[in-house]
């Protein structure tokens, strides 16, 4: 009898220690995970702060608007900013319709089967193609095969293919988030599949879709490796730098950062790199903010919420 009581006591003491130990491990792990997450935020703050610190002195109206210099100090990034937006616009013009259409097909139409599997596998494969490899493909097709030389349109088409999978994914996710009941209600009223998609599904998804597109636009804006051998590393002189003709070489801002460091001989490389990096970063932040605002307001407008 006494022995039994004693055993129980020991067991209790042991389990109390076990509980303390388990609680300790739990707390430590929790703390560690918190630290990891905070480290990500800290890292981002560090990057933004650092680039801001480096780049702010370089920024001036003159820097943002004047043409780059090849030889002497004092070059700006005006044409590069223009080209970045120009190629971004072209890319979106091509990639959004194709990606949205393919996304709709996969999400709303395709039945499980060989064709859907093929399209999905193609999209996944395309998504992992390194951007430099895509750049070489662009070089082969647009520069060598079609003889377009280095051109804005060649760059834009290369980026179109590069960003198709991401945009398809955004489309599929936006469509997936539309409740199935909307589709059923519409079909039960005698709407066709396309009628349902056009009038109900797309308007409901347009907010999420736009947010996704703008976020990807931010990435297209900063793309570099795929453009070096397709859109080239130079801008035309004078007013020609702001040409609307897509068949001209068009160095973008991100390419300029690399190019200035790697290839140019101007003495103020650091200033140009710092300033350009800051502009790129600000654009990314801007795209993120705009994506959320526009997405929210479109959702409100198209769904009456």
């Amino acid at each position: 009898m006494r022995d039994a009581v004693l055993t129980l006591e020991i067991a209790r003491a042991k389990s109390a220690r076990g509980v303390r130990h388990r609680r300790f491990v739990d707390r430590s792990a929790t703390t560690l995970l918190w630290c990891a997450a905070l480290a990500v935020l800290a890292l981002l703050t560090l990057f933004v702060g650092y680039i801001l610190y480096l780049g702010a002195p370089a920024i001036s109206w003159q820097f943002l608007t004047s043409p780059p210099s090849e030889v002497s100090a004092g070059g700006g990034i005006g044409p590069e900013i223009y080209n970045s937006f120009y190629i971004l616009g072209l890319t979106l013009l091509f990639t959004v319709p194709v990606a949205v259409a393919a996304g709709i097909y996969l999400q709303e139409y395709a039945r499980p089967g060989a064709f859907r599997t093929l399209v999905q596998f193609s999209a996944e494969s395309l998504a992992t193609v390194p951007s430099i490899v895509m750049g070489l493909f662009g070089l082969l097709v647009f520069v060598y095969l079609l003889r377009w030389r280095f051109s804005a349109i060649g760059g834009a088409l290369t980026l179109t293919i590069l960003n198709l999978p991401a945009l398809m994914r955004v489309t599929q996710e936006a469509l997936f988030s539309v409740p199935q009941t909307y589709r059923e209600a519409s079909m039960a009223l005698g709407a066709t599949r396309w009628g349902t998609i056009w009038r109900i599904v797309l308007p409901s998804a347009v907010g999420a879709l736009t947010t996704g597109v703008i976020l990807i636009a931010g990435r297209i804006f900063g793309e570099t490796a795929a453009l070096i051998y397709t859109a080239g590393v130079s801008v035309a002189a004078g007013k020609g730098a702001y040409d609307l003709n897509p068949f001209r070489p068009a160095e973008t801002l991100a390419v300029h950062v690399w190019y200035t460091h790697a290839e140019s001989v101007v003495p103020d490389v650091a200033r140009i790199g710092n300033g350009s990096a800051l502009v790129l970063l600000v654009m990314v932040l801007l795209f993120n903010v705009v994506a959320r605002i526009v997405g929210r307001s479109l959702t409100r407008r198209f769904t009456g919420r």
Binding site: Y182, S186, M187, L189, A191, G195, S204, G304, R305
Partner: protein
Amino acid sequence: MQLIEAQESTGLKMDVRDLNVFYGSFHAIKDANLRVTEQMVTALIGPSGCGKTTFLRALNRMHDLTPGANVTGTVSLDGTNIYDSSVDPVVVRHRVGMVFQRANPFPKSIFENVVYGPKIHGERNRDALLSCAEKSLRRAALWDEVKDRLFRSALDLSGGQQQRLCIARVLAVEPEVILMDEPASALDPIATSKIEDLIGELKKDYTVVIVTHSMQQAARISDITAFFLLGDLIEVGTTSEIFTRPKDRRTEDYITGRYG
């Protein structure tokens, strides 16, 4: 009144023969046969999971939308099998409308919800759409409650109002048959009674097939009742027959409350 008499007194709207529905390898409906009579309310009752809703969705080819669902047998609408390869499911759904268990208004204004059907079927004239909206909302006994806020979001309506809006939306398409899948199950008693009154009104012009989990509701509003159990259609009869003199033992057990 006997079932046969009742059906002969009006007319046969839909005729379901040897209907089987599979979800993948799961056999959800087994050899069901049912005749749906014009201008009457047919209620489908049975315990949860017995296949009532599955059966209902077979009547306007909603299973086309469910990947993996497979339907065999025939469902005739005015003598034409709606599963025939020459038949367009879109036209079927145009003629056989459906109201769902949970109100599912589109995230648009009340007006846009009601005129959605006419719009997709090609009506562009705004006056015509407006008068159609008013007519449908009046028929759904909702007009007085929403006439001042037609262009506000439908999602701001109460649950009961939303469900009547969904009925109005179906009415605007001018279907011949209205399928209702437990339309009042998510509503409070007052809203429920409004819907029930509405169904009573509707059968003057339409053929209604309604799934309900409430035997009282079936007794109150239907003319004909079909009892389902585990994918089998056990028994069909006039509502009074089923509730007073069921032929099958299982029906009786259910009516008297021996199943959940």
